[in-house]
Symmetry: C2
């Protein structure tokens, strides 16, 4: 089934204890679309780029079943740019530069053939832009919203309005605490699920992810890795893999969401193994299936 994802397509400058990647392609829209494309197609990508974003990368997206008709190209503009440096422990990071560039005027207008996408991922953008995309959708089956603490700080009312319109919200543990005012994640989930969404996914980075909904709770571990080269894009790869699997199966039951979270976690585990999209762009089905088996071995047992 058709999946639509909206998010940044950008340049990143990333420094980690393992090295540096200068002006590499990145962005939530890019990572999520690539991850989803392993499971479903077409993946309708909505974004905005400058004339500086490489045309061959756009072609590469088309070749993998990602429809780029929804990417507005501002030929005389510059793409969104983010520079960051990860701490030695790879958990914390400092933002060194954020240049909005063409993103400052992003007013997404969906191509007609995008509007009947059933599965929608609203990547981390201003709540107004997320709402504008939703306004153009016809009859969705599942809408997933990703957001962050920044929007809770500066645009809480607008954020709450869009939260009320979606089915699934994905945030990290600190954001869940901020949004709910509750420290316990169980209590935070109870509160957030009264705000509109039927499901809440709390991402805990290297500590895994929690799914709440239908009075149930599910925990998926992150895969402990010997080497994490670059955490950038892990959350977006997670979201793309999650929704891509749901779109593939067309099943939005809690049990299938569990499987979807494992698929998302698998994509995130690949993402962090190399800089930029290097690792996630060229996976084989065999690699993905082996990774899924590794996840199953990691947490399964018989009582």
């Amino acid at each position: 089934m058709e999946l639509l994802t909206v998010g940044t397509v950008a340049f990143d400058d990333i420094t980690t204890p393992f090295g540096r990647a200068e002006k590499v392609v990145g962005g939530a829209g890019l990572y999520s679309a690539i991850a989803a494309s392993y499971f479903t197609g077409p993946v309708n990508l909505v974004s905005i780029i400058g004339g500086d974003w490489p045309k061959e990368e756009l072609n590469a997206l088309e070749e993998r079943g990602i429809d780029t008709d929804g990417i507005e190209v501002v030929e005389d503009g510059k793409s969104f740019f983010w520079a960051g440096k990860y701490h030695d422990d790879m958990n914390g990071r400092d933002t060194l530069a954020t240049e909005l560039n063409v993103l400052a005027d992003f007013n997404p207008v969906l191509p007609e053939h995008f509007k009947d996408s059933k599965y929608v991922l609203l990547g981390n953008l201003t709540p107004e832009v997320q709402a504008k995309v939703l306004d153009q959708m016809e009859d969705t089956t599942l809408v997933v919203l990703d957001t962050m603490n920044f929007w809770m700080d500066v645009a809480l009312d607008a954020l709450k309005k869009v939260i009320a319109r979606v089915d699934v919200i994905t945030i990290n543990d600190e954001e869940a605490r901020q949004l709910s005012g509750e420290y316990s994640l169980v209590k935070a989930a109870e509160k957030i699920l009264t705000m509109g969404p039927k499901y809440l996914i709390i991402k805990k980075g290297e500590h895994g992810a929690l799914l709440f909904g239908e009075g149930q709770m599910f925990f998926a571990p992150a895969l402990p890795l010997a080497e994490v080269k670059d955490p950038t894009g892990a959350g977006d790869s997670f979201a793309g893999g999650f929704l891509g699997y749901i779109a593939k199966t067309g099943d939005i039951s809690f049990d299938n969401m569990k499987r979807a979270i494992i698929h998302g976690s698998a994509m995130a585990s690949f993402c962090v193994e190399d800089f930029s999209i290097e690792r996630v762009k060229g996976l084989s089905d065999l690699e993905i299936n082996e990774r899924l088996e590794t996840f199953k071995k990691l947490s399964h047992y018989e009582l």
Copy 2:
């Protein structure tokens, strides 16, 4: 099968955002013995207390199948005392007071009938005391060592000597990093498993626990709870439940260790629901089995 545990039997003064418990019974030996006693018996407890430790609590231990013959009572001495205050997030804590009292002169001499215990838990004590207990054991099946960063700071050589003699070591993630000099827990585990133990359990508190050994890796989540009243003793309840289940089953395969870790996690999840031993001292088999089922639902899925 007989299980021996050595660790403090003490008084705690605990302040958390939910309240305060003054001069309540506590200590690693106490928590681990109680947790283990649900699965196996007799549980041979080795410790030292002052004349101030309540006799009725000793009787209560005996009634639940904990043999207290190995608890030295210094009638004119005072029991070990710890006072701590947990931060609002319940993860961090400040130690307000540590009074060693009779623990300062702890020189464990095992009763004859303790020496053939097959399953041994060396609770967090000086490495010298842990070694002294091991010296008195006859033919063990599985020895588990718990320790902490303090001993890595002040007695690393002695600690390494005792680590080399045990089968399983349980430490937290920061301690695993300190002991190995590796940030990645996968690499840390590889290094620590060259120091002697066949298995390593890395406790991550609210983020669960990892088991490494035999070239395999297993992750057990902690149970997300609406309310954590007092985290004191959770790690000790975990260790006691873990080894108690292994002693009950007499099976030290990796697959059974997975089950044991879930049993340990279940006991830890009860422990934090109330102050001191209030919750863990009176569990029914039904409650424990239901909790185990809750754990299974939390992490299981079909691919």
